[in-house]
């Protein structure tokens, strides 16, 4: 998977490293902005109220 990604990317090694770093940053940003806030309410460890 990652081997395929590395071979598919164009350019010399340092360009590929830069592209991969940018991709990783984009994935982290997307997780922090959309994915994690969407799944956090379904996690069981954040409940702080008493209810029936």
């Amino acid at each position: 998977m990652y081997g395929w990604l590395w071979r598919t990317l164009p350019g010399p090694a340092w360009v590929r490293v830069l592209i991969l770093l940018a991709l990783a940053a984009a994935v982290v940003a997307a997780c922090f902005t959309w994915v994690f806030p969407a799944i956090a309410p379904h996690m069981p460890f954040n409940d702080i109220t008493v209810d029936e």
């Binding site: 998977m1 081997g3 982290v28 922090f32 994690f36 460890f45 702080i48 109220t49 008493v50 029936e52």
Partner: protein
């Protein structure tokens, strides 16, 4: 992932590069699992660190936007100037609309900088995860006879009730609304199961009783990083004071030291 490097001879490149199907499947599966592990680690970092960064800023902004919230520690009042403590019936604000921030909480035990907004409602997505402390709808308002019940996060989203276990009996919980200070004092802490709603009854733990005094209750998760139980703090209204008359002595500089903190 194929483990073999590019072959030198282009003629049999296709044949050499192709690893057995089983190895490819296992390789991809392994990479997916590693990726999942990294993402789970990221989620923990987001939950325990990033939500605090965001919520701390948001809650400080909410307090600032109120316009009337007193956040500066007051100079210690001169002994002769100390106003008489009012213990008669306190003014009670009307219960506001859902999401409305109507009060702040200051707790000298948690440091002079501790000021958090209290908003109406206890839904997580729009109140507790964003605005900080939430007032249980239908419970008493500050100063009212009955139980002013408030929930807050302990380990995430700005963790307004992070240090709840440090509270001692007698510690002041200072609530400010636009016009009035309410100084509650801690009477008891307890750990209960999440379904024990009697802790926020008008008379805490006595669901059938008619209230005769103004009490306050904080609820948060327990143990930390778990939702198995709830940590509960009960307090009773000690005195109140119009905001126009100054700042309660409990919040004065050095009050913590005097209070034995």
């Amino acid at each position: 992932m194929t483990s073999t490097r590019e072959p030198v001879a282009p003629a049999d490149a296709g044949a050499r590069r192709r690893a057995p199907v089983g190895a490819v499947v296992v390789g991809v599966l392994g990479e997916l699992l590693i990726t999942l592990g990294v993402l789970l680690g990221l989620f923990v970092a987001w939950q325990l660190w990033w939500t605090d960064v965001v919520a701390d800023g948001e809650q400080a902004q909410v307090v600032e936007d109120l316009g009337w919230a007193v956040t500066e520690a007051a100079p210690k009042p001169e002994p002769e100037a100390a106003p008489e403590l009012r213990r008669d019936a306190a003014p009670v604000p009307a219960e506001p609309d859902h999401l409305t921030t109507f009060a702040t909480l200051q707790v000298p035990r948690w440091g002079p900088d501790y000021v958090r907004p209290i908003s109406q409602g206890t839904s997580r997505r729009d109140v507790l995860d964003v605005l900080g402390l939430g007032h249980y709808e239908g419970t008493a308002m500050p100063g009212a006879i009955g139980n002013f019940a408030v929930a807050g996060h302990r380990t995430t989203y700005g963790k307004p009730l992070n240090r709840v276990e440090e509270l001692q009996v007698g510690d002041p919980l200072v609530v400010q609304t636009q016009d009035t200070w309410y100084v509650y004092r801690v009477t008891e802490t307890q750990v209960v199961m999440p379904h024990q709603v009697e802790v926020i009854a008008p008379v805490p733990n006595q669901p059938e009783a008619q209230p005769t005094v103004a009490t306050m209750t904080l609820t948060t998760c327990h143990p930390m990083f778990s939702a198995r139980e709830r940590f509960i703090v009960h307090a009773v209204l000690d005195h109140w004071m119009p905001v126009a008359e100054g700042v309660p002595a409990e919040l004065a500089v050095g009050a913590q030291a005097a209070g034995g903190a």
